[in-house]
Symmetry: C2
């Protein structure tokens, strides 16, 4: 029986036209990260399952992770996210290296998802994390980096915003105001995390399963309706939570003075699904009516290094996936046309006797790092121009019997329609004509 | 219990100093591939197991592959090699695209190996393949590319050679000369593939289990002792195999005239372990006494597209792993020193009042794509120089109360020990001083 030519469900084949888009996107990520002096890292594709059991949360473990037992009886998982790996790596070196640690990576990650727009099983995710920086400073650095990256594609504040909250605000509302116990609180977190994806009725039902007191439900709804820093401030003061909210307010006032402020909105529904977040949490949201969704998310995690028996080291990071980013860029028409390859010189020869000459010419020019495509075999003259242009070449080199006998090659500029003959060994002359 | 900080067995954590080496190596691979007008592609991390069952051979399936059943009851595998994927992708598009197809990729691959020098469970592998080219031409193109790549690192013919054979030579020796049936032939392939890794005695025993006739053993040993094209030619003629070997001889004569010839040696023991090869097979061998091993291998496969019910399309490719390549480059001292990051400007400020000024300066310079590290928090003057130099910065920007009051920043060239003051908004002036 014939095998399927299609890729595994929820995964992609990247043909050259797709790969050029991916390389373009990854290139921007690298430039942005390095503009902020972040250093590159990567971890293994497989991690022991325990690493995710510790802090990633039950949805990831129960429904999404690809895990199995290896031939040596170890329980392993294909990495579904990068934060546990970067924390594991930081735990190895944080005592020796200069802090803050600024690291970035673009790993491929796998989750068992039902494939849909913006969500596949395999995706690549730009991750940037800061460890060991003074409070609030790392938050500003991370938010500035994500804005810088999106701006480098040509995006602006009409296209995206940063929806931001703080787990410590949520905690104080849940614990001090709604008087929820730990288990109820955990459940309500999961409800809020899904709040934007369900109807108001469905949300009411989910909330009523956790909060039974009608007054408390009213307070919770008041909280969910907050949509500016001022409304949050009033809510906090009215409910006497000023002291517990002081840290976040201070952060917000600091950031207000900076350029990044114009992208930021307070949003009480942002809590993030992963269990390890402890401070500021945020999502980058696409404002376009056709693509209203989160394209990135992140937050601060204070206690991740303790799972390796290390002393606490404050961390903050974000992940931005290539699938959602590409949707964002396409929706806003921010991708250049990359359908064609960018090559430099196509070499064609017209008789068997010229083959060796053609190989030698290709060899000489490739030594000079020119992008040279040698046609593998003789070809017909009338086909040459179409083939060379379809493959994205700017120049054409032709060797027929006349040129060979004269020890020459004709080079043609396909845009300017200019041609010039060169001696076969005049590699520098040809290079100058082309560059 | 505390979790392990170490990576999963046989996999690597790439800290920034390792990642810079990897990026350096991958960069050379991309430049080499594009000098030959190869286009980038990539496939999914997971493939259905059937894809490897078809043609990859029993060692891979029985001992090396990471396979498991997914939550939807599909038998899947983490890709252990790239050829089946690239064949699957070529099968999708070969009827529409211009041929030959020249594609390259640098995927991460996983095999369940016992970790040792040159062999890990996870590695990255540069793959380049040509589909649909006239016979012999694609072989030359692929061999030229691998030589070009190694030369681009500074390697030369004293450091590596290409050991080359042809499956059709082996087939005619096995079938026409040794009169082996298909099963015996398959077994003897596997014996030859391991021949260089076992003692002469062990080899004798393994051979004797397949070839029982003493005269035949002698002939087989004669074959194994061939080490030049001339000796092969004599052997072929003596045994009346001229017709069956004609294609390979023609290829060898063609290649003799080209620059790539000086790297090539005929080697009867090169057969390659994967079942799909049908023509020329080769390995790149490190000549250094401390690292005598294959660093890359490949070959021609004529029938891989048939498993997808497509008409035959000749393919040839090779894979070069990052682990063996790094060993090669280190053994021959071909790696530059990449222990330090390459940054441009370190910004330090000395009092809280300068924080906002420092953020704004960092923001302005990053817009110009300078690699700017802002120290997150105030720092002591005497520490500034050491920190900036350790992080690989060439320039230092300092803001203290004097500068802030004058609306200025002092920029210092750390190599030339020159300093100059700039107005804070003179981003272009600062950029010119730095670039």
């Amino acid at each position: 029986m014939a095998l399927s030519k299609k890729p595994y469900r929820g995964c992609r084949d990247f043909f050259p036209k797709d790969m050029r888009v991916r390389d373009f996107i990854f290139g921007k990520m690298k430039v942005a990260a390095e503009s902020f002096a972040f250093e590159p890292y990567d971890g293994p594709l497989l991690e022991e399952v325990d690493l995710y059991l510790a802090k990633s949360g039950e949805e990831l473990i129960n429904d999404q992770i690809y895990s199995f037992t290896d031939r040596g009886d170890r329980k392993v998982a294909i990495r579904p996210e990068m934060t546990p790996t970067v924390a594991r790596m930081a735990a190895q070196v944080h005592r020796e290296v200069a802090k803050p640690i600024r690291w970035y990576s673009i790993p491929n990650l796998l989750r068992y998802e039902k494939p849909q727009r913006g969500r596949l099983r395999e995706h690549w995710q730009f991750n940037a994390d800061v460890f060991g920086a003074p409070e609030h400073m790392a938050e500003i650095e991370i938010l500035s980096l994500v804005v810088h990256l999106l701006k480098s594609f040509g995006a602006n504040e009409s296209m995206f915003s940063i929806l931001l909250n703080d787990r410590r605000i949520v905690d104080t509302v849940f614990n001090d105001l709604l008087k929820l116990n730990q288990q109820e609180s955990y459940k309500l977190y999961k409800v809020i995390d899904r709040a934007k994806k369900v109807t108001a009725e469905k949300l009411d039902i989910m909330v009523s399963e956790i909060i039974t007191d009608a007054d408390m439900v009213t307070i919770f709804k008041e909280y969910l309706a907050l949509n500016t820093l001022d409304s949050l401030k009033a809510f906090i003061e009215k409910n006497n939570l000023t002291e517990n909210a002081a840290n976040f307010m201070e952060f917000f006032h600091k950031i207000e003075k900076l350029e990044v402020a114009k992208y930021i909105t307070y949003d009480p529904m942002i809590v993030r699904g992963l269990d390890y977040y402890t401070g500021v949490v945020f999502e980058i949201f696409d404002k376009h009516p056709d693509n209203r969704r989160a394209i990135a998310g992140g937050g601060a995690y204070a206690n991740l290094l303790q799972i390796f028996n290390e002393k606490p080291l404050a961390g903050i990071g974000f992940g931005l996936g290539d699938v959602t980013l590409r949707d964002f860029l396409e929706t806003h028409e921010l991708l250049p046309d990359l359908t064609k390859a960018k090559n430099e010189l196509f070499i064609a020869y017209f008789d068997e006797e010229s083959e060796e000459t053609a190989w030698n010419l290709a060899h000489g020019l490739r030594q000079e790092n020119l992008k040279v495509e040698l046609n593998l075999g003789t070809m017909k003259f009338k086909k040459v121009f179409t083939v060379a242009q379809n493959k994205g070449h700017e120049f054409l080199a032709m060797i027929g019997s006349t040129e060979r006998e004269a020890g020459e090659v004709q080079i043609k500029n396909l845009t300017k329609k200019e041609a010039k003959n060169f001696k076969l060994d005049d590699i520098n002359g040809i290079k100058e004509f082309i560059k």
